[in-house]
């Protein structure tokens, strides 16, 4: 099976014609058509992790979004200050659905917007003094908070505030970690640098600072699961059923203590490689903890991952692993039996952060769906190298595509489903193309693990097969030349 390589090359070139020359030349480097050769060699000439072109409606966010929105925000028993003007914290408030147990405002601060609400005077005179007062007031208002993180917005770096010094002082005074995070939005080219900066701050200020009462041979960490719609819980349950002991969950439903004791585990299991690879590579070097990438989207990948995880342990765990698979397989077969006939052959395009565009492929394929084009907002070269082998030949792989490029591709490839985020969602609704939010599961989930796959399958069927799509008063679609599917 495969798509027409030449036709898709031509299609991409045609789409790029709309740009001014300089931008056309640049954007061309961000597309690649999968071939037998790239599938095997994983070699990619595709440009990634570089600046977006100005003026083109990139789907990307910023460093602050990567740090506060993704990595730090879900750590539930710390208060995360959106340090700077009011907007950043307001817009990232509760939008990623990182579920966490606990009482909001008492021992869980995830779904809150705590900000220094910078005014002009703070810009002129600096906000360090104010930050001190804020830290004290946080201690006063939230006596059970275990720590504070200071998530810098753009002005902090620009006006030269010394949040490190303030944090140090306040950590001492308040007797708890106060972590400065230099995640100003202008740093780097996307959210991605924010993940890295956030990881470094965890490494420098939190890691290794507490001990585990007792360690065991089956101690593992879940790294890079943000518990969107409860994903980490649906993953954890399988690991625990298999006999492993999950010590730390980073960072969905995570706690300061888990961050501090994670270095005592025997193995790091990393789901979102893009956002936390920095962490596991550091822990491998510093503490000798090996890591394993896994993928709990869809039963095929979940079986594969469970077995790969079990292979790192002894026969007991391996037997348990087979038992877990045997227990859930009939349920998964039933789900596939029900939904696959309704979804077989449906063409999907994906544009998601830095991982799910490849991680979810298996889940779609389990349902008989075909990925014709996929791309990332903020992936790096290694992400693409991992993507090529999972895609069929002739499929289009793209980096930081603009809204315009995606809309053209969606129409010309005649897709049946688009998976991306809320900025894209309603555009596809207008076009009459079924759409699922793949950043935050669209107020649904979990999607990870076996419990998650049931919901994933139901959601995809709901999206693709809902009768509303038949009500469109659409113009007759003409298959343009160059489209290969």
């Amino acid at each position: 099976m495969g798509l027409d390589i030449e036709a898709n090359k031509k299609l991409v070139e045609e789409i790029l014609e709309a740009y001014p020359d300089k931008t056309k030349k640049d954007r061309k480097k961000h597309f690649q058509i999968n071939t037998e050769e790239t599938k095997e060699s994983c070699s990619c000439s595709l440009k990634s992790n570089v600046k977006s072109r100005p003026g083109v409606m990139t789907p990307r966010g910023c460093s602050y979004a990567g740090s506060k929105g993704v990595v730090w925000g879900p750590i539930k028993d710390m208060v995360h200050i959106s340090h700077g003007p009011v907007g950043c914290g307001q817009y990232s408030w509760g939008t990623r659905r990182n579920y966490a147990n606990g009482t909001l405002g008492i021992d869980n601060f995830t779904a809150m917007q705590i900000t220094s609400d910078f005014q002009e005077t703070d810009i002129v005179f600096g906000g360090d003094k104010k930050l001190e007062v804020i830290c004290r007031e946080i201690k006063e208002m939230f006596p059970l908070a275990k720590g504070i993180s200071v998530q810098s917005e753009c002005p902090i770096g620009l006006i030269g505030d010394d949040i490190e010094a303030v944090s140090k002082k306040m950590a001492k005074e308040l007797e708890m970690p106060v972590v400065p995070v230099r995640c100003e939005g202008f740093r780097g080219v996307s959210q991605s640098l924010g993940h890295h900066i956030a990881n470094d701050a965890i490494r420098d200020y939190v890691m290794g600072k507490a001990e585990l009462a007792e360690t065991g041979p089956y101690d593992v960490n879940i790294i890079g699961d943000y518990n969107i719609g409860g994903d980490a819980w649906a993953s954890r349950i399988l690991l625990e059923e298999m006999g492993l002991r999950v010590v730390a969950q980073w960072s969905g439903d995570g706690t300061l203590n888990e961050l501090q004791v994670a270095h005592k585990a025997k193995l790091n299991l990393i789901h979102c490689h893009r956002s936390m690879n920095y962490m596991v590579t550091h822990m491998e070097q510093a503490y000798g903890i090996p890591y394993l990438e896994y993928n709990f989207f869809g039963p095929s990948k979940t079986y594969e991952s469970l077995r790969a995880i079990a292979a790192k342990f002894d026969a007991t765990i391996q037997e348990n692993c087979e038992k877990v698979i045997a227990k859930y397989k009939p349920q998964m077969d039933a789900i596939i039996g029900k939904y696959r006939p309704r979804l077989e052959g449906k063409k999907v395009m994906l544009l998601i952060g830095g991982l799910r565009s490849r991680h979810t492929i298996g889940a779609y394929e389990d349902l008989g769906m075909e990925i014709v084009a996929t791309g990332y907002e903020f992936a790096h070269k290694d992400d693409y190298e991992r993507t090529f082998p999972d895609m069929q030949t002739g499929s289009i792989i793209m980096d930081d595509p603009t809204a315009y490029e995606l809309e053209e591709l969606a129409q010309k490839l005649n897709i049946d489903l688009m998976g991306s985020g809320v900025k894209e969602k309603y555009v596809y609704h207008k076009m009459g193309i079924p759409f699922r939010q793949m950043h935050s599961w669209d107020y649904s989930g979990p999607y990870h693990g076996f419990d998650g796959f049931k919901i994933f399958a139901k959601d995809m069927d709901m999206t693709v097969n809902n009768p509303v799509w038949n009500l469109f008063d659409k113009k007759e679609k003409v298959q343009p030349e160059g489209a290969s599917v």
Binding site: G55, V86, L104, F186
Partner: protein, 517 residues
């Protein structure tokens, strides 16, 4: 339909299953959680009068504010004009946030681009980003105008928009005569409403200046009789309602800044970047109108100064006209500006709403409510409450402070409250946030909270039902499609509120349920 039934619990029930409850307990051994006693104590403390006092003493930290930042308002303002592309000059993350925030409220796309400034721009300035950005944006999205606003980054480094845009023209990135309007909208000043005002004012003044015409109030043709400005308007239905009202008057008018098309467009299999909006050519013509009708006077402060100062027009300044009396005032204002009598059809509609009020009043009378929102919306809501016998108790405005001449707003609110015995219980909190409101709701309980989706956390903690009105409403569908202004809007608000009260009654602790109300 398959006869075979597979039960698929989702997040709302899955995690109540025993195995997940067990997991939750098990995880605690690694969480180093606070003891149950400590948690109970902290929870009780957070609900105490002592805590309320401390909460109101805090000077620096802001917790759950009910406001967003300037450029968000500017993006909305730009989308009110025909084929206008909002262009956010600064870090691209801001633009992504504005697009997603507005899209979550309206459930519609928000086209907007950014100049994607990064570290090098922080050092050298964002001019090349602006030049390339304008060229790309115009080539790709084919707007007829670009409306540039700034983020805090561009403002802190002091980028000169006018010079940059000029240079973009000189370098041929955009044509000499292509309109690029702009506004400085640092996020550390004001809020979404000030940003809305700044952009509307600048679009009006810059398009007017370009036209080279002089203002001549009252000389316009039929089309330019009356200008209408709704402000930072989260309800697309309100645009339809004001149109309905003006059409009933049989007067011609121009809505200045009409984003309703962009945020209420049909799904017909094709996506266009631009739906509706005020025609660019209508903006200079608007300088010839008889007068301007402003429906969010605190939001549109600078815009009004411009219209009265430069266009020399009379302005009728209102706050969001919610309820019968405020709508009466709206109609009087239209009458005054146009010289036309209030049409019979609207008088009849008024009567029907008053009829509905009388039917519902037993369920509303004496209900104590908390209100949170933007300054003009709050004035409207208070007016509505007072005329149906609802008693506002806590009135909270996060963004009604300094830049809004807070004292003046507060004075007007207090004067309005003083007009009715139902207003005697109220206290107005300017510049406070929703964590303050939580303390108030717990310590001085009310029957209902009225405000945006963000109010739901405080309302939930206090066990008070929330009536969703304002911006943003993320967690309910289609609220913005129904008007809340005008007589029809009064009826809609009444329906919304009274039915929440009735639903509460059906869930009353006695278990006694009435069929007839």
């Amino acid at each position: 339909m398959s006869k075979e039934r597979i039960d698929i619990p989702d997040y709302s029930t899955l995690f109540t299953e025993e195995r997940y409850v067990q997991q939750r307990e098990n995880k605690k051994q690694f969480e180093a959680p606070c003891s149950d006693e400590a948690k109970a104590e902290a929870l009780a403390y957070s609900k105490s009068a002592e805590y309320l006092e401390k909460n109101f003493e805090r000077k620096a930290v802001v917790i759950n504010p009910h406001k967003a930042c300037q450029p968000l308002g500017s993006v909305m303002a730009a989308l009110g004009f025909e084929k206008t592309l909002p262009f956010v000059h600064g870090s691209q993350g801001c633009n992504s946030y504005f697009r997603s925030h507005l899209s979550r409220h309206f459930k519609e796309p928000t086209p907007a681009v950014s100049s994607s400034m990064t570290e090098d721009a922080a050092v050298f300035g964002g001019m090349s980003n602006m030049i390339d950005g304008l060229q790309n944006a115009v080539a790709l999205y084919k707007p007829e105008m670009v409306a540039v606003c700034t983020t805090c980054m561009a403002e802190v480094i002091g980028d000169d928009l006018s010079a940059f845009i000029g240079n973009a023209r000189q370098k041929g990135a955009i044509a000499e005569d292509f309109p690029v309007t702009f506004a400085n909208t640092p996020s550390f000043i004001g809020s979404h409403i000030t940003g809305y005002d700044a952009m509307i004012k600048n679009i009006l003044s810059q398009l007017f200046d370009r036209s080279g015409q002089t203002a001549a109030p009252g000389t316009g043709e039929e089309g330019e009789k009356l200008n209408v400005l709704l402000g930072f308007e989260p309800y697309t239905g309100n645009f339809a309602e004001i149109r309905k009202i003006l059409n009933a008057f049989d007067t011609k008018y121009t809505i200045l800044g009409d984003h309703s098309g962009n945020y209420d467009s049909p799904a017909n299999g094709e996506y266009e970047y631009y739906y509706g909006g005020t025609k660019l050519a209508d903006v200079p013509k608007a300088a010839n109108a008889l007068g301007s009708l402003v429906l969010q006077k605190y939001t549109l402060k600078k815009t009004q100064e411009y219209i009265s100062g430069t266009w020399k027009q009379p302005i009728s300044s209102l706050s969001t006209p919610l309820g019968v009396k405020a709508t009466d005032k709206l109609l009087e204002a239209i009458s005054q500006l146009t010289g036309l009598p209030v049409p019979e059809s609207l008088k009849e509609e008024r009567g029907r709403v008053v009829d509905a009020y009388t039917d519902s009043h037993p369920y509303l009378h004496g209900k104590r409510v908390a209100l949170a929102g933007d300054p003009d919306l709050l004035l409207g809501l208070i007016g509505f409450c007072l005329e149906v016998g609802i008693e506002p108790v806590h009135i909270l405005c996060s963004n009604g402070d300094v830049e809004f001449d807070g004292k003046k707003w507060k004075e007007e609110v207090e004067a309005l409250l003083a007009t009715s015995p139902y207003g005697s219980e109220a206290t107005v909190y300017v510049g406070k946030d929703l964590w303050h409101l939580r303390s108030l709701l717990i310590n001085d309980p009310v029957d209902l909270a009225i405000g945006s989706s963000h109010v739901k956390f405080a309302a939930k903690d206090a066990g008070v039902p929330l009536v969703r009105v304002g911006f943003p409403i993320f967690d309910r569908h289609h609220m913005h499609r129904n008007p809340i202004i005008g007589y029809q809007g009064a009826l809609n608000l009444l329906t919304l509120i009274v039915n929440i009260v009735l639903e509460q009654l059906d869930n009353n602790p006695s278990g006694l349920v009435d069929l007839v109300r």
